[in-house]
Amino acid sequence: MTAALGIFGFPHWATVLIVTILMGFMVIQGRYWTWEKIALAFCIINLIYIPAAFLVNPNWGEVLRIGLVPHFPGGLTGTMFFFLMANVGTTIAPWMVFFQQSAVVDKNLKEKDIPWGQLDTAIGAFFTVLVAIFCIVVTAAVLYGVNIQSAAEAAVALMPFSKYAGTLLAIGLFDAGFLGAICISLSSSWAVGEVFGWAHSLNNKVKEAPWFYAVYFGMLVSAGIVVLIPGAPLVTITLFIQVAATTLLPAALVFLILLLNSEELMGKYKNSRIQNVINFTIVIALILLATGYSLTTLFPNWLH
């Protein structure tokens, strides 16, 4: 966020301050639905990557060929595994599992709402992948082989190709950072509140759930401090966090699968055989990816 707004001349400290205040206002109004509507408005801004992809005018035939046929430039190296894991970590992460279950509780969804919840998740998953594809197209078309030290450099590098595309990417980067910050902070507050047995709902006022809001603001402030550390390798930190998310994901998923297979808990909604096969395939793929990364880190030449 600081890098994205830095392109438009915003000082980092001002971005951190404004964003923290904005995120504070989003949660303290004491209603989940208001928070969700604001968050959805920011989600819509993420669609900005779609016109940006058309503005950079990539070779669409090449995009389809490279996009549909898996290939690993430079071979299966530690760096390749690292970036594959970081990509997975940006799309699916353990906090999302906790976020979704807490959001369902705060939304007060009942059994009759399950089909709507499923539709909600399917639409969200579709647009997540769609935006990710266009985001990759934008950056791959312009930045392939260019060493980027900060997210802002990506947007600046796009300016010579298309001023509008660079601006759209900068807005998209800010928006993505903003969404990530509100969702991860909220997910952590929900999870900590649940574990410690504190009141933990966006439908509670600050007085009714002080620890829930304290954890939320603690997350925002600590993240702001890290961002403002002079010379902090923010891209490296971000990438490692995504890789850590992918590494920890099997743990969250395995317990989720166990719960989904409990007849006592799930009743007629218990996982079917097909669902279990799909679920375990995802878990095994993640474990293999993490193992590939660990082996190439410990033994850099084992695949050569």
């Binding site: 574990v195 490296t236 490692f240 743990a251 409990s262």
Partner: protein, 64 residues
């Protein structure tokens, strides 16, 4: 000072109570599942140690 120490004591007491509360799994697990979960736990600890090592060595190279 006493207040801070009491705060820490309460915090660790709360963690002990949570661990006690979830000591016995609420869902039925076979011996095979329990063993798999133990292996997964060991695997994840190894992975996280490796990741921490990789992160520290990368940051050391980057920071002037």
């Amino acid at each position: 000072m006493d207040n801070i120490l009491n705060g820490f004591r309460d915090f660790f007491q709360a963690i002990r109570e949570i661990n006690q509360k979830y000591k016995t799994p609420r869902i039925k697990t076979t011996r095979m599942v329990s063993l798999s979960l133990l292996l997964l736990r060991i695997y994840l600890i190894v992975m996280l140690v490796l990741l921490a090592y990789s992160f520290i060595s990368t940051v050391i190279h980057q920071v002037p």
